[in-house]
Amino acid sequence: MKFQKKNGWRIGLRVMVCAIAALCAGMISEAQTKNPYAGDAKVAKLGESQFRSNCAFCHGLGARGGGRGPDLTRAQKRHGSSDEEIFHNIHDGIAGTAMPPATAGGIGVGMTDEEIWQVVTYIRSVEKKTNAVTGNAARGKELFYGSAGCGTCHMVNGKGGRLGPELTTTATSRSEEYFVDSLRNPNKRLAQGIVEAMKDFPQEYETANVTTADGTKYQGVVLNEDAFTVQVLDTRETLHSWEKSSLKKYEKTRQSLMPAYDEKMLPEKDLQDLLAFLAASAGRGK
């Protein structure tokens, strides 16, 4: 609104606008609690088109998850599984994540409330029944913090290391196939780190090998980076921030610090136990 003198007419108009806005707000909050199209296959199809245009860039085809967006075919979702919560997450975005609000033009082409409900209907139509967890969570926990060595770098429920992604609730956002892939072939797709609001892509968990001016060598994970500086957590969990031009050597690789767990290092049964532990920590299956 341009700065201008108020007059009675304008104030009156404003009161009216406010009253209408309040009325509409009431209607919207009503509209946001219940999916008016629940179970409607035709609407799900419309929702699929919306999903493809607006959501697939991060959440992948069929909502199966891309590198950057969670798999939405899991019935239990990290930021809420009810229709109302999913609507709210699409409508307003999820603070602290890369998920933007649909309404401010942040998601794809943006979506109306009607289109958001279409997407909710579509997501419901592609949700999978949770696979029965076959592993033993208690044994998985022992492995995680013991012989498998996961806890050296990964934290679950406040216990563990900081070098790799925190895993407490990851079972709600990633498929089992994704976990298996990450364990067996960690270089195939690096995990996503810090998200900056205006950047197209988040920082990935790349590996840095650094030699400082005094000859000290460090290896660690790149927390963030730009053309001139790099922020690293080294393998001893010490934080560093360097001007790249001050370093004797700065090499970055897409070779993850995470070892590839083949069948020998991690037999299938152990893997299932680990998955059971992660599922249990996320409150999904016991």
Binding site: S53, F57, L61, A104, K199
Partner: protein, 527 residues
């Protein structure tokens, strides 16, 4: 008494001064003669985004420092290029803000924000890229598809016209272009199955003088390049500011994707004039010639990059580094293609037609299950302004190296709703994604140098007679490079991605460089 009379005389004189129109059309024609000002989106009609100011140069750029900052307090992408006229800066911000600042201090003089309807359909953020100025008015296209004129001294709305129905997906995001007594705008909305157009309005009254439909209608040449009724919802927006050649009285505009953007089934044919360069008569809107960059586009390769006019010896050219990954040099008197060379990774095309124009391949078409294609849907570049430096004779473009997987599926047109017929998402097996400022030689199409960006960026480029190329990155750095070598000379961390083109101006003999980032407009100068 004498003193008082003299004072009144001065007052009268200055009052008389204020009634003069600020920017006559002749000033726009001769913008290069007043480099202290930045009179239009790309700096001048040629679209070079080059300034002859050289006080800030390769020898002292290391001493640049912020001089002031203006905060819009708005969220979303801040894509504006400010204008500066005689010490006053005019710019726009998200949600159709416009403001005038004292360009010396950054202090606001007036601020305008449009009351937008809640159901507008901007495809890609509530953005605006700037104003045009003519006489005492600044002109702005709005997200609800209006064109408005604001009083340059007060920000008051002088006229406000409806150009199209926003509820069908029409909107304006570009900075208009003023030519003679007209204000030219091109529409956004290629994601909604609009029928694109370029309009010209009388600057004094807002009366529409002509409309050029960027999709040929029935009975017009080009309509046969659309299958059935597909032309009605064929997109072809024109959402980036054009250029103007007064010597031939021709204005050059570029158009965006045919709709649905990633589904060619149902719109068989070349789909004219989508993804094209149009040469129009600015007085009548009549087309003189066209050149289509991407026939039957299925990858959203809008040609909406500023068509840069450059002269090479006796040759009058237009150069465009296109979103589709090719760098085109075209004779701007005839529209004939002179060269098309790859400047980024390209897999959508593996052959050229008889005229040397790259054409799509069967292998590059989107499929239901998804087909990896380079460049990705966001392009090898996008709307961010390139620059041409007549001193180095190099063309500078922000390149993006990111490939996508393109999937296509049937979708019925539904007015006002997204109309892609598709999904696309980054092809992770082609990681890492990155970007670069590339300096290309228009004579050969060859890469002379590149400055690597850590990740793909949306910042435009400014070059100056000081031997500098300014650009920004997605990580928030605003950077000055040696335009000859690409060597970095200075950078400043703006705190948010630079998603705008830089510009430069001077006041009191001091040169400034300005750029928008986050919600802040920064002005830099020498310490």
């Amino acid at each position: 008494m004498k003193i008082r009379a003299a004072m009144i005389g001065v007052l009268l004189l200055s009052l008389a001064g204020t009634t003069n129109a600020q920017v006559a059309a002749e000033r726009l024609l001769n913008a290069g003669k007043e480099p202290q000002n930045w009179l239009m989106y790309s700096g001048g009609y040629s679209g070079l985004r080059y300034s002859t100011l050289d006080q800030i140069n390769v020898n002292n750029a290391g001493g640049l420092a912020p001089k002031w900052a203006y905060q819009t307090m708005a969220g979303g992408k801040f894509e504006t290029t400010p204008l500066v006229v005689d010490g006053i800066l005019y710019a726009t911000g998200p949600d159709d803000r416009a403001f005038a600042l004292d360009a010396r201090s950054g202090r606001p003089i007036w601020q305008y924000q449009r009351a937008l309807p809640p159901d507008i359909r901007p495809c890609c953020g509530r953005v605006n890229r700037g104003v045009a100025i003519l006489g005492d008015k600044v002109f702005m296209g709005t997200l609800d598809a209006h064109v408005i004129a604001l009083d340059a001294k007060t920000g008051a709305v002088v006229w406000d016209i409806t150009a199209a129905d926003y509820s069908k997906g029409y909107s304006f995001t570009l900075a208009p272009l003023a030519i003679k007594n007209l204000v030219l705008v091109g529409v956004s909305g290629g994601e909604y199955g609009i029928r694109g157009f370029i309009d010209a309005y009388d600057a004094a009254t807002g009366e529409r003088k002509w409309r050029f439909n960027t999709i040929a209608g029935p009975g017009e040449p080009g309509n046969e390049t659309w299958e059935g009724e597909s032309w009605k919802v064929g997109g072809s927006p024109a959402w980036i500011t054009g250029t103007f050649d007064p010597a031939t009285n021709t204005t050059f505009w570029t158009t965006g994707n045919p709709a649905p953007s990633n589904r060619g089934i149902g719109r068989a044919g070349d789909n004219l004039y989508a993804d094209s360069l149009l040469a129009l008569d600015p007085d009548t809107g009549k087309m003189k010639w066209y050149f289509q960059f991407t026939p039957h586009d299925e990858h959203d390769y809008d040609a909406t990059q500023v068509p840069v006019m450059l002269d090479d010896g006796g040759k009058k050219l237009i150069a465009q580094a296109n979103r589709n990954g090719f760098f085109y040099v075209i004779d701007r008197t005839t529209g004939k293609l002179l060269s098309a060379t790859q400047y980024a990774k390209v897999t959508w095309s593996n052959s050229k037609d008889a005229t040397g124009r790259p054409v799509g391949s069967k292998e590059g078409e989107p499929t239901l299950e998804g087909n990896p294609v380079c460049p990705g849907a966001l392009g090898a570049t996008n709307w961010m302004s390139p620059s041409y430096d007549p001193q180095t004779k190099l063309f500078y473009v922000t390149a993006r190296e990111q490939c996508d997987i393109f999937s296509t599926a049937p979708q019925a047109y539904d007015a006002g709703h997204a109309f892609y017929g598709s999904a696309y998402y980054p092809n992770d097996s082609s990681q890492p994604f990155w970007g670069a400022l590339r300096a290309l030689d228009p004579a050969t199409g060859k890469l002379v140098w590149e400055w690597k960006h850590n990740s793909p960026t949306w910042a435009g480029v400014l070059t100056t007679a000081g031997g500098l190329a300014f650009t920004g990155d997605a990580e928030g750095n605003f950077i000055a490079l040696d335009a000859k070598s690409g060597k970095p000379l200075w950078h400043f961390q703006c705190g948010a991605s630079v998603i705008a083109g830089p510009m430069t101006f001077a006041i009191d003999g001091k040169q400034y460089v300005a750029v928008a980032a986050g919600s802040t407009l920064f002005a830099f100068g020498l310490q």
